[in-house]
C-alpha cells in the first residue's frame, strides 16, 4: 500500500558509543561524511516517503540545529521524548501526529531504499505490523524470525540462540495506527516500553504481523568500530565488484586536495576539507566537512569527523575521530585489532585502531595503542603512549 509517513527513532544516547556521544545523539554520528540520520532520511525519501517525523530526546538540539524544519524539501516534524523509556515509549510520542499507516525505522541504522520499498509494498491494512527480515545474519544483536512459509511471522525471538534462526529482524517496520493501543497494552519491562515487546506480543496474540525478505544486511551503529563499517558501506559505489571497479573517490567542490596528495579509493572528501601535499588518504577514509589532513600524513580506514585537524606526518589506521579534534604532527595509531573496553566490558580483538572523541587533543609524536578510547576534550601530551582509555577532559602526561 501507499505509505507517506515515517517515524524515525532518534532519541537515544548510544551508551556503547561513548565517548563519541558525549555532545550528540547516536544518529548524528557519521556514516562516512554525513550523519547517519541524513542517510536514513535519504532512504525514506527515495522510497517515496514525504512526511518525516523524528523522535528526539538526548541532545535533541543537535538534531534540530542540523536539519531545521525540512530535509530535501520534506517537512520534518519533531517529537520530544523527555526521558528515554524505551523505543515503544519513543514511538508513542508521535502518536498524535500520524493517523494513517506509517513506517518506523531506527535513526542509528542505515536502512536501504530497497528495504523500505519492500516493506511499503508488502504492508496492507489487514496487518497491524510488517517488518523487513534478512537472511543469515547469525547475531545475538538482532531478533530471530520465523515465517509460516508465506509472509506471516510466527516467531519473533529477542534472545536467539546461535544457529537457531536463519532469518532476522532487519529493523524496518510498517504499522497501522492501532499499534499505539498495542503499545499501551504491552506490559512494561523495568519501567520501559520496548517496541520489540509489542511486536512479540502481536506475533503471539494476533498473528497479524507480516515479514518481507530483503537482501540488505543491517548497518547499525552500536559500537565504535561500527562507524568504520558504516563508512565503508557508504563509500562503496553501487557497482563495486571484486576488482575494485566502481569504487569511488568523491571530492566536494569546495574541498582542496593538493596535487601532490594521493587519494586511494574509496575515499570521500567533504565540503571545505583540505588534504595537503604528500598526504596519502585511503582506502576507506571519510574526511568530514572542514577537516584538514596535513602534509605527509597517511590515513587508512578512518572516519575523520567535521572540523578535525590531522597534523603533519601522522599515521592513522582504523581510527574514528569526533569533531574538532586536534591531532598533532607525528602521531601514530598503528590500527586494530585491539581489545576495546566499554564501561566494564572488554570486547576482544575488535577492528579498531582508536577513538579520539570531540575536541580532544593528541600531542606530537604520541602513540595510541590498538582499541583505546580518548574522551572528549581530553589531552594526550606530546610523545605519550596511550595504553588505556582516557576519560573526558583529563590529561595524560608522560
Amino acid at each position: 500500500m501507499q505509505i507517506d509517513s515515517a517515524v524515525v527513532l532518534a532519541a537515544g544516547e548510544g551508551r556503547r558509543l561513548r565517548p563519541l556521544t558525549r555532545f550528540r545523539p547516536k544518529p548524528m554520528l557519521p556514516a562516512g561524511t554525513r550523519p547517519i540520520l541524513e542517510r536514513v532520511f535519504d532512504a525514506l525519501i527515495d522510497a517515496g516517503v514525504d512526511d518525516l517525523h523524528v523522535v528526539v530526546g538526548y541532545r535533541r538540539d543537535r538534531v534540530r540545529n542540523h536539519f531545521g524544519p525540512t530535509y530535501r524539501d520534506r517537512t520534518i516534524t519533531y517529537h520530544t521524548q523527555k526521558t528515554q523509556l524505551g523505543s515503544g515509549h519513543a514511538l508513542f510520542q508521535a502518536a498524535d501526529a500520524v493517523d494513517d499507516d506509517f513506517l518506523v525505522v531506527n535513526g542509528d541504522e542505515v536502512a536501504t531504499t530497497n528495504a523500505v520499498e519492500r516493506v511499503i509494498e508488502t504492508h496492507s491494512r489487514e496487518s497491524v505490523a510488517t517488518l523487513a527480515v534478512v537472511e543469515g545474519e547469525d547475531s545475538r544483536e538482532y531478533a530471530g524470525v520465523e515465517l509460516d512459509g508465506g509472509r506471516r511471522v510466527t516467531t519473533l525471538d529477542e534472545t536467539p540462540e546461535p544457529g537457531a534462526y536463519g532469518l532476522f529482524n532487519a529493523g524496518v517496520y510498517a504499522f497501522g495506527p492501532s499499534v499505539f493501543s498495542e503499545i499501551e497494552a504491552t506490559p512494561q519491562t523495568n519501567g520501559e516500553r520496548a517496541l520489540s515487546d509489542t511486536l512479540v506480543r502481536l506475533v503471539e496474540r494476533t498473528g497479524s504481523v507480516c515479514g518481507v525478505r530483503v537482501d540488505s544486511p543491517r548497518a547499525k551503529a552500536t559500537y565504535p568500530w561500527d562507524l568504520l563499517e558504516l563508512a565503508a558501506v557508504s563509500l562503496e559505489g553501487p557497482t563495486t565488484d571484486e576488482t575494485g571497479a566502481g569504487r569511488e573517490t568523491a571530492v566536494a567542490d569546495s574541498a582542496s586536495v593538493h596535487e601532490d596528495a594521493t587519494l586511494r579509493p574509496p575515499v570521500a572528501v567533504a565540503n571545505d576539507a583540505v588534504v595537503e601535499a604528500g598526504a596519502v588518504v585511503g582506502p576507506d577514509v571519510a574526511l568530514g566537512a572542514n577537516t584538514t589532513v596535513a602534509a605527509g600524513s597517511t590515513l587508512v580506514g578512518c572516519v575523520i569527523d567535521q572540523d578535525t585537524r590531522v597534523g603533519e606526518n601522522t599515521t592513522l589506521l582504523d581510527t574514528v575521530t569526533g569533531t574538532g579534534v586536534e591531532i598533532a604532527a607525528g602521531v601514530t595509531v598503528p590500527g586494530g585489532p585491539g581489545d576495546v573496553r566499554i564501561d566494564t566490558t572488554v570486547y576482544e580483538d575488535r577492528p579498531l585502531g582508536a577513538v579520539v572523541a570531540d575536541r580532544a587533543t593528541v600531542g606530537g609524536g604520541a602513540t595510541l595503542a590498538p582499541g583505546v578510547l580518548v574522551g572528549p576534550e581530553a589531552t594526550v601530551s606530546p610523545a605519550a603512549t596511550v595504553r588505556t582509555n582516557l576519560e573526558a577532559s583529563t590529561e595524560l602526561r608522560q
Binding site: F23, R64, P69, Y78, D253, T292
Partner: protein
Amino acid sequence: MCGIIGVVGHDDTLSVVLDGLSTLEYRGYDSAGVALTGDEVEVAKREGKLEVLQELLSGRASPPSGSVGVGHTRWSTHGPPTDANAHPHTDDTGRVAVVHNGIIENYQHLRDELCDDGVTFESDTDTEVVPKLVAAALDDGHGPAAAVRHAVERLEGSYAIVVTIAGEDRLFAAREDSPLVLGLGEEAYYLASDVPAFLEHTREVVYLDDGEFVTIGADGYRVTDTDSDPVEKSSTTVDWDAEQTGKGGYDHYMLKEIHEQPTALRQSLSGRTDPLAGRVMLEEVEGLTRPEHVQFVAAGTSYHAGLYGAELLRRAGVPASAYLSSEYATSPAPVSKATLVVGVTQSGETADTLSALRAARDRGGETLALTNVVGSTAARECAHALYIRAGPEIGVAATKTFSSQLVTLNLLVEHLTGQDAGTRGLIPALRGLPDDLQSVLDHEETTSVVDDYLGKESFFFVGRGLHHPVALEGALKFKEITYEHAEGFAAGELKHGTLALVTEETPVFAVVTGDDERARKTIGNVKEVQARGAPVVAVTDGVSEVERYADRVLRVPETHERMSPVLANVQLQLVAYHMADRLHRSIDKPRNLAKSVTVE
C-alpha cells in the same frame, strides 16, 4: 517601519494574508489589519499583536472574503497604536483601502488641503491621506490605475503602498525608498515588504525599484516607471526555505539563532578560503583593491561590527573609522575617490544606512554593502556587495548575523590589505571557529551566572581593543531584551566617569582574552571595579590571570586574537537571553523595537 502584504489569485485569501503577516511581524507588532475585496472592500484591524486580530476574525461568523487582499502589521511612527490608527486606511465611502510602510513627509499639507475640500479623517496617521487622494481622483473620473498614480504623485517621503479598490480584482502598488518585492506564483501574485511573507507559495521574486508602479491581477503583473512606460523586470529565485524561518522546536527564535551560529559561520566561510595557499578568496569583491581610507556606516549591532572592522583595518595600517549611519547621513565625513565606504546592514534595508551610503556615493566614494539579504536595496545601490550568508534571522535581537558579520569582515580585510594583515594562523583559526563556537554552546553555564545577578541595578560591560565592540554589543543585547539598564564601555574609559555608578549592585562583565598589554590593562580596570565591591564576571580564555579577580567566569576556547571576540560575544548573547527569559520578557519581539528599521 511596518510590514505589508498584498495577494491575488488565491481562494483562501484571508489565510494567505494572515500567514504572510505572521512572517512580517518582526517588522512591527503594534497593530495589525487586513482588507479583502470583492464587490466591496471589507476591513478588519486591531491594536496589538497579530494574534489579537486573528482572534477577532476567528470569532466572526463571516470573516472578510474576496479574491484580492492586503494586510499590514504596524510599528508606530505617526499616532499611537490604536484601532483607528491601524492599517488598512480607507476613504469616506469605503471604496478604497491602503496599506503603507514608510513616512509621508508632506502629509500635513495634503491633509489640510483635503480637509478644506470637506474630507474628514479618522486617524492620526500620515497614511490616511492616500486613500482620500485615490478616492478624489476616482471621483474626478480617472480609472483605478491612473487614480493611484495621481495620488502617489502628490506624495513626498518614503513609501511602499498597496491599494485595493472595490470591484477591482487587481492590486495597485508603488515604491519609493521603502522595500517592496513582487512574488510570482502559479496564477497568483504577491507584494510584500520582505520575501518570507510569500515564501510558502513561491521563490520567484522581482525586486521593485524606486519610482516604479506595479499592478498585479490573477493573470499577470505589469510594472511601469514614473512616466507610465512599461519596465521589463527580471525575476530571481531565492534560495531561502520557507520552513527555515520556523522556530524548529526552540522557545524563541533568538535561542534557535544563537544555536545556529556554527552552521551560519560555516556558510559564511565556505569556499572563501584557500587553506592550501593560506589565502582568502573573495570573488564577489575581486575588483576592490586597497583603499586609502575606509569608513563603516551602520546602526545598532551592525555598528558594533563596523567598529570591529575598523580596528582590524587600522591594525593592518589602513586608516579606518566607523560612523553611526543616522549621524553620517546628515553630517557625512570627508570622502574622496580613494575612500571605501562600507555599509553594514543585516537586512540591506536600514533606511539610515541607505541614506549614509547615498551621501557617500554622491560625494564620490566607492561603496560596498555588507549584508545578509541578496537583492536588498543596499546590495543593489552599492558598487559592490559582500554577503554574510547567515541565513534568515527572525529574532529582533541580532545574534548569528553579528557573528557572520565579524567573520566576513575578517575576510574582507584580508582581501583589501593584500593578505598581509592577518598574522600567521588566521586561516586555521577561521576554519576552527565553528567548532570553537559549538564548544561554547556545549558548555553552557550562563544560567547560573544569570541567577546570581537577577534583580541587580545596572549591568556594565567592558573590553579593550577588539573586545570594545563586544562590550558595546553585550550591553545592547542585554538591555534591548531584558529592559534592564546596561552600558558598554572601553575598559579604560570607566574611570573617566562611569566608575561613580559602580557599586555592589552593578555586576561588571569584563571581556579579557590572551595576556598581552591590552589584557593586562583591562585586568587593572577590573581591579578598580572589584575594589568598589562590584561583582565581576570574566569572559576569558583562561590565558591571563583575570580569573583571580572575578566572581564568576565564562570560558571561551583559546584561539586567534581576532576570533576571540566572536566567542566572547556568544557568551554575552546567552547571558542576555537567559536573563530576559528569567524576567519573562517578550524576547523575540521586544517592546518598541523592530528588526529592520526602514524609516529614518
